[in-house]
Subunit: 605 residues, 2 copies
Amino acid sequence: MVYGLARRELRPKVPLRPGEGEKHHLTSMEGLAALSLDALSSVAYGPEAIVLALVAAGTGALTATLPVTLAIVFLLATLVVSYGQVIAAHPDGGGAYAVAKKDLGPTAALLGAASLVVDYVLTVAVSLAAGADALASAFPALARDKLLVCLVGLALLTAVNLRGVTESARVLMLPTALFVAAILGVVVVDLLRSQPVATVGTDLSFPAHESLGLLLILKAFSSGCSALTGVEAIANAVPSFRTPRVRRAQRTELMLGALLGVMLIGLAVLIRRDRVAPRGDVTVLAQLTAGAFGTGWLYYAINLIVTLALLLAANTSFGGLPVLMSLLARDHRLPHLFGLRAERPVYRYGVTVLALMAALLLLATDADTHRLIPLFAIGVFIGFTLSQLGLVLHWTRRKPDGWKRRALINGTGAVLTTLAGVILLATKFLEGAWVVVVAVPLLMLLFARVQRYYTAVGEELGLGRIPAPPDRRAGSLVIVPLGEVSKLARHALGAALALGDEVVAVAVHADPDKRRALREAWDRWNPGVRLDMIESPHRSLVQPVVDYVQRAARDGRQVAVLIPEVEPRHRRYEILQNQRGLLLATVLRARTDVVVCMLPYRLGL
Amino acid sequence: MVYGLARRELRPKVPLRPGEGEKHHLTSMEGLAALSLDALSSVAYGPEAIVLALVAAGTGALTATLPVTLAIVFLLATLVVSYGQVIAAHPDGGGAYAVAKKDLGPTAALLGAASLVVDYVLTVAVSLAAGADALASAFPALARDKLLVCLVGLALLTAVNLRGVTESARVLMLPTALFVAAILGVVVVDLLRSQPVATVGTDLSFPAHESLGLLLILKAFSSGCSALTGVEAIANAVPSFRTPRVRRAQRTELMLGALLGVMLIGLAVLIRRDRVAPRGDVTVLAQLTAGAFGTGWLYYAINLIVTLALLLAANTSFGGLPVLMSLLARDHRLPHLFGLRAERPVYRYGVTVLALMAALLLLATDADTHRLIPLFAIGVFIGFTLSQLGLVLHWTRRKPDGWKRRALINGTGAVLTTLAGVILLATKFLEGAWVVVVAVPLLMLLFARVQRYYTAVGEELGLGRIPAPPDRRAGSLVIVPLGEVSKLARHALGAALALGDEVVAVAVHADPDKRRALREAWDRWNPGVRLDMIESPHRSLVQPVVDYVQRAARDGRQVAVLIPEVEPRHRRYEILQNQRGLLLATVLRARTDVVVCMLPYRLGL
């Protein structure tokens, strides 16, 4: 491990190649296209979650959809104003982790990081599940295989992100525009009609289990809050905007808020008017689509657009979580390997971990959106609250112009999001929110323990102190394990002679005939290097060599074992080569303190 | 890759630690216990396969069970006599591969090896599937989850065999004795009763689809031949017997033949008398058990004994196939890694490949014994035929006393097994035997291509020729990538100074502040080694080091890169360390021809 060798740039959520000019940065509209899908696409499951909660009190209770939605939109408005200030205060990008680290101290930072991790994973799972719902609304044959559909989608996203995507705002512009047009189209056309054109799905009866009391309203509210996830994305990505960055980002945040609010209210009005209740395997949004446009090609097209938007929303986590994990790794709070980007500019380990966690969640919930929703949004609300609390401290410490007003705005936001978070937790605890309550502290503990380990290692390595001068050893011995006299042996001895003061070849053979033949060939070759033969009548080749090396390492010289490797030109032949050498190297590295050297010998094959 | 370093002893099917004395070798009875389960346990599915074939002509056709069984027992008798001669001719163990290699030439050897591979895999799959059937007969709740039961059993066997089993004849003695006692008990008690005590399973009606013609008889015969699998095991393991080996092994073969014959005929008589037809999820053997002993605790006990015997029969393949694969690897017909036994005396790769192939088969056939049977036995009959053909050549070439009689016996055996093989193939081709017809040539092709590759590599390495003397390089340069001044750096430079004529440290940092700090610390430390600093504003650490190394390698000196690794004491911390070093080493080995050295630095943590 070589500390600090890898210092890497912070990759914003919409990565831009460094060195790319201002013209590659985002305008407000481009920013909206690139960064809003996560938030906007939640209209596909948020209103539905409200309906599903309310219908427990019978279809009559669906009239409450509108007031509940208005409360959520009020919260949204507060968030938009608040995040406008986050953007101003953190023009370098203000994810909950970064803000909490700067303003609130290490524990809050760990809390922010843990909740973000949970949020990213849930975004993938919920978006895929909702995408499968949308797809199954168009193609009912898929309704039974939603889990499979989700896992296929997840595999696709993982493969694309492991290869490395050159995300660009332009790619996302069309899907976002189509999605917004589709939803607004449904709302407007449906409102103009006196009654739905067509109904889809099967009629289900909903006897009232409970009365429409405060608890049910709060439940509906907390389910609907899942529609607010993703509004923080713009504030995280301020550096991606074209100058004036802060202004453009704030404008984008406002546009996002306005669009999302209009969509939510519009859908709520329609749900109330058309008394839209769950109908079998058809989503609420699909029912409204059929009501507006019938079940012709537009119905299929809109469901496909919604599916695509949700798939792309899931993809935003693949941009976000691996970057967050690399930041945590740089702070020694996750294994350093999450900061590695190998050859391609891809955080391979972060992508893989995200995919595995999302797959686990989908399997555990059978890709059922309504079982995932209770887990969702809590992590997001922790992040909302931390960002705004941090900002309150930010203002009260620095006291810029109008700091009191600013602190008041963010303080109000923090209070409201805390309140919403508490409602979420209280009403959804047994339905799944407990998972988050367990997962977040466990993640915090993990981060803290990893950090403690790295600190202890740094201590043991004497980081920050000047060590004694290097030891000067009394010469060196290079041991070369060989099997036959060949060009490989020649190549290996040549390198060994350049590196060692003394070189010795060793061979392990069980068969006396082979030993004799090798000795004869060696004597004829006479390479000027001693050959030690180890008998090993019945044991593996590895242990005798390890024993030999351990004996040789006792006399104070620096011992190195040089293992020549045949490297085939084609990768498909690799399984045919080198396995013995690799095994020997692995065991030597585990059991001895000698230098283990590998020397490639390239074949033409 | 180091050719020939690993020469390993041939491990007989019942492995004995070398150096263990004669008393650890097997007596005839012990040999029977250790080596016969594979063959004997096939009475659990062989007779049932006959019944299932005949019932296509209605339950009346079941009377043909006895004559079909008698034909199979006649073939068995021929095989037993034939294998008695195989034992005499190949006292070192005469698997089809070894015999074919010695007497019939390379193509026959490849055919023998391929058919053995197929046979071993099918033994695992069929034994597990039949074991699941037996278990489900006792516990009907399991009938729907047979595939799961099989996969759990397979996982168990794989885990045990990856850990390494010290198989011993004594361990197998009790299960074998119990199994033989159970089957003979069922036969004798049932014969003594005038009618079955109890019936299990549900009555099914079997309208006659076809008439009881020759084709159906041949089909029943070829299905029943699955009962003959495993009779070759004793001949493969002659070296495991106590002296006089040949006589003891022959006696064991005879006992095996007699026992198997008696069981098969006894079961056939009962099937005929009791008109045993398939009854739902209950095996024929379980029906006969219920007929003899009722459905009390003995019924459960006997079904469990049968299950255990079948599980142990599946386990014999785990003893056999990995050894065969190691022999093929030694002959350069499979990747050499199949000859590696790592730390434990276990052919890990062979075990893994066997488990994967068996799992695939089980999944493809839904663990249905009756879909696996058509694939089975063909491989075995190829082996039977090859062994005996080889022996015919063996006798006619060496002409010992009575060679004509001997050649006649083996020749007859070869003709009969060829005939049986052709019948198998003809009657079962479309039902699944085609898989074997495809798989065997593909495996042969694989072996041949691997061998051709290794031959070409040997040619390129100049194996068997004396190479030129090793080059003497003009000195050496050791490059040490470092991140900080620390004890790790001190340790690495110490080793590097002992190995290189010149040593240089390199550091890659993106951050100018870090670069400055490192330069200052280096100057204060002043270890007597030059530090080269590489800027890398935006790229990974790997490529700049590779570029640096490639430049350094141009001047004719031997270049080595020494990468220090922090080795935590506990394995669970390994993921936290070394990943950067390993990545750098991997890329250097792929892209450059320099020596790549790893130096462990052991932590107390």
